[in-house]
């Protein structure tokens, strides 16, 4: 390890293990660059893991932002091909309610068509048949090619592909300094959160893809980026109320998108500016819950009597254009900052703004620039090369609930999961069909160090019971010595705290009953609280 660390020399260092960083690492690696991807917590812990999981058709932006709309529909069609196993082709509705202006609909459709989005006006009665959960009061409906996407899976697939092309990934490694020599960024200083070790890594180009935290990275390099942290809160419901994405046909506003994701559905978002210091500990307020719930019920009234599983919030890395320091004109488009041109600081690029939807395009843009700086002339092939897991199907495994579920999660990569023997087939999570084999695969190959990592990779504990028993089972499977037994207990305590963070803002109804059951089991029956010795340093809560 030591010698390897002392020899950290790369073409490109990508900072940030969100979708943008992962996509950039993939693109760079596919163009033959030697890449290091660093992430201070875990893959997709920031805004990437805290959104709707919506594969926008672009329709939402059609009226207000033609460029974003065009980018979205193009990437939408691309991701359906290259990330087949991360996408569920649900389609979406834009509904007009009696309180909305129906005249907006024709403008909306016109602008969609202009952007290349197939928008089709349908009869409200037909909309009710297509999506029985929709508010029956609707007076207008437009069908668009929205879809649902699993951001955790998509990001991991990009990381895996980057690795297959030679990239190195370091999770739980935080950039604590950006190394500048004579107006050039030459690398970064990293801290390994597992053991506290600090070391330098060097590269000719450093790419800042740290989302909202990119402003802090830029600060370390001595340049200023004018970011506008915009908090967006969302609620996850205990089952999948709708099968199509439901949007409001009006200018973007609070809580006007309901997305079906796997076995659940998600309503969001709110949008409020927050201070950068608050971005590490986002909590959903009772007022936000109120707005999300009351507006959500207008899209699908049955949300009112559906159990809310948890509340969570992410922060969009919006950016003010450089000539507008007041921040009045905030763009949601892609922003690539060549700090050599902008600030006279060579070897440093920031990629920000944009949306999860356009991550591949963002990666392409920033990789083009990095290649230009490195004198590499290779075309981008990320739009035509399937991600690992989405290659054409070879052979399929014997049918079982767990095999089917894991195929859904890992696509063709499920061939790496051992099955067929009793030990591997034992189920740890009944809600989501996660087997011991899948847990072991995730630990071995997907950078899993704790239960929350595992949750992001496999959906363990993401189902209706939110980890009631599977968390403890998994902790038992994950430890292999007395030493790791203590770590597993601390990990379990961290997992429970993380889970409670999402439940506490919505602790009423069935959710409160479930919380009491969890406390009764984990504290009363098991005594986890009494065995916990410390909070793990590499733990990051969502």
């Amino acid at each position: 390890m030591k010698t390897e660390n002392n020899n950290h020399q790369y073409d490109v260092i990508v900072i940030g293990g969100g979708i943008t960083g992962a996509g950039t690492a993939r693109d760079c690696a596919m163009r033959g660059l030697k890449v290091l991807l660093v992430e201070r917590h875990d893959i997709s812990t920031g805004a990437t893991g805290r959104n709707h999981g919506l594969l926008h058709s672009g329709a939402r932006y059609a009226v207000t932002d033609h460029e974003s709309a065009t980018e979205c529909i193009k990437e939408n069609m691309t991701l359906r091909k290259i990330a087949r196993h991360c996408v569920e082709e649900t389609d979406g509705l834009f509904i007009t309610l009696p309180e909305d202006d129906l005249n907006f609909q024709s403008l909306f459709v016109e602008k969609c068509i202009e952007a290349g989005i197939q928008a089709e006006v349908i009869d409200p009665e037909l909309a009710k048949t297509m999506e029985p959960a929709v508010n029956p009061e609707l007076i207008g409906a437009v069908k668009v090619p929205d879809a649902s996407v699993d951001p955790f899976r998509l990001t991991m697939a990009n990381v895996l592909d980057a690795q297959l092309h030679g990239a190195k990934t370091l999770v739980s490694h935080e950039v604590i300094d950006v190394l500048v020599e004579q107006n050039r960024v030459v690398g970064v200083k990293l801290r390994n959160h597992h053991n506290g070790e600090e070391f330098n890594a060097y590269a000719q180009v450093t790419i800042n893809a740290a989302g909202i935290w990119g402003t802090l990275i830029a600060q370390m390099a001595g340049v200023k980026i004018n970011m506008f942290p915009a908090k967006g809160s969302l609620l996850i419901f205990g089952h999948r109320v709708n099968n199509m994405v439901i949007n409001r046909c009006r200018k973007p506003a609070n809580a006007d998108i309901l997305v079906p994701d796997d076995a659940v559905c998600v309503i969001g978002t709110t949008s409020d500016r927050v201070p950068i210091e608050a971005c590490d500990d986002m909590r959903v307020t009772p007022e936000e819950v109120e707005v999300l719930l009351s507006e959500g019920m207008k899209l699908a009234p049955s949300l009112g009597n559906t159990r809310i599983l948890r509340a969570y919030a992410g922060v969009r890395p919006l950016i003010a254009s450089d000539d507008d320091p007041s921040g009045r004109s905030i763009s949601r488009g892609i922003v690539t900052l060549d700090h050599e041109k902008r600030d006279g600081l060579a070897g440093f690029i920031t990629i920000t703004g944009g949306k999860m939807m356009t991550y591949r395009l963002m990666a392409e843009e920033v990789t083009n620039l990095a290649c230009e700086k490195l004198g590499v002339n290779k075309p981008c092939i990320t739009a035509s090369t399937p991600l690992p897991g989405s290659e054409p199907q070879q052979e399929s495994k014997k049918y079982s609930f767990a095999n089917k579920a894991s195929h859904g999660r890992h696509g063709t990569l499920d061939s790496k999961i051992s099955t067929g023997d009793a030990a591997s087939d034992a189920l740890v999570c009944e809600c989501e069909g996660v087997s011991v084999g899948e847990v072991k695969y995730a630990i071995d190959e997907l950078h899993v160090h704790n239960l929350v990592n595992l949750r992001r990779r496999t959906r363990v504990g993401m189902g209706t019971c939110q980890g009631e028993l599977c968390a403890c089972r998994t902790a038992g499977v994950m430890c292999d010595s007395d030493d790791s037994a203590q770590r597993a207990i601390n990990d379990l305590a961290g997992f429970l705290n993380e889970r409670w963070k999402g439940m506490q803002p919505v602790a009423w109804g069935d959710n409160l009953a479930e919380a009491q059951l969890t406390a009764t089991i984990y504290q009363g029956l098991l005594g986890v609280d009494q065995l916990t010795t410390e909070r793990r340093a590499d733990y990051y809560e969502i």
Binding site: G476, I521, G524
Partner: protein, 417 residues
Amino acid sequence: MKFDIIIIGGGLSGLTAGIALAQAGRDVAVISAGQSTLHFSSGSLDLLGCDNNGNIVNNPLNAIASLNASHPYKKVSNVESIAQEAKQLLTEAGITTTGDATANHWRITPIGALKPTWLSVDGMATMQDAGTMPWKRVALVNIINYLDFPTKLIAAGLRNRGIEVDIKAVTLRELNELRKSPSEMRSTNIAKVLERNNLLQGLADAINQVTVDGNYDMVLLPAVMGIDSCSAASTMLNLIAPEASYVATLPPSVPGVRMQTLLRKRFAALDGTFLTGDQVIEGNFQGNKLNSVKTAKLEGERLEADNFILATGSFMSRGLVADYNHVYEPALGVDVDSNSLDRTTWAQLNVTSAQPYMEMGVTTDTKLHCLLGGKPVSNLYAAGSILSGHNSIKLSDAAGVDMLTALQVTHNILNQQ
């Protein structure tokens, strides 16, 4: 239909009251939704494990004096004799236990912690003193691929206390069959397969084989034997050569399910009426009396009684319901704590903090009468986890509150007449 007493709720509290009243010759009906928190049991019953400051309690009887005035034990006239009565009631139902109310002993949790407790079902591994380990060398024997018994965690906990622990695993062909559907590899299914197919000897042979050379002074097994009766559980232990005991598993709890079964059998043997799978949806009050109740399934039927006991449990048992902005008691609509109106005060941010919702419940007068509009209902009592004023997780007092308040209500009813 008319009974002397109708008990709403068939968990530990409701069954305790039902048995005691039936024993006293009363005509009793229990209306039960089905499952109860006994399914999450540790195989032990807690009276008072910790005091208000979180300190371990050695002698529950002494420590009860220091509890808040709101604690349900403050409405129990003689805790010592009622605690003995509870133990006696369990014994008569076929649930023999060790322990008494003057000195807590220790149980081993399914992840290897030790917790103070009052009564442990015979066969469960216990310790008199957490400082002195009763064993030097332990074999911890699991069933292969049974994931609800995390042996590595239990072993680490015991080793931390100076015990040498070897982890072993055994299986039988019949259990492999069970494993073909992985979600069936759960405690109650294992117990049924072992017990109903006469596999205890076979399993004991397998356990003896892996423990014979180890010079163990204790063999610890997952508590997955004996779902229908105590005898299977004790037979198993007798078939193993060294001394052997059970450690609780993750839910469902076989000893807990067994306790529920035996209590129900006892109640039935005393001619009690058990209405299962039903729930009370309405009460017919007149003045300060409850005349009758209606249930979801017995449409049009009024169930009348001289006295009623509400023992439906807390939120997790649906005895209490929290909606968006208030907490209420759904069966009869009796009064709950007044601090239940502001949702933002129900739950603390830190998961291990004392959560305010844990103390919520129905309010009662000193005789455990429920209140309606602030006034006592003269023939309606509350017992068990539905009572307000204590945090059963922080105090480790759930089973004690269930049984002791149930027996106190029984006394109150019998004395009243």
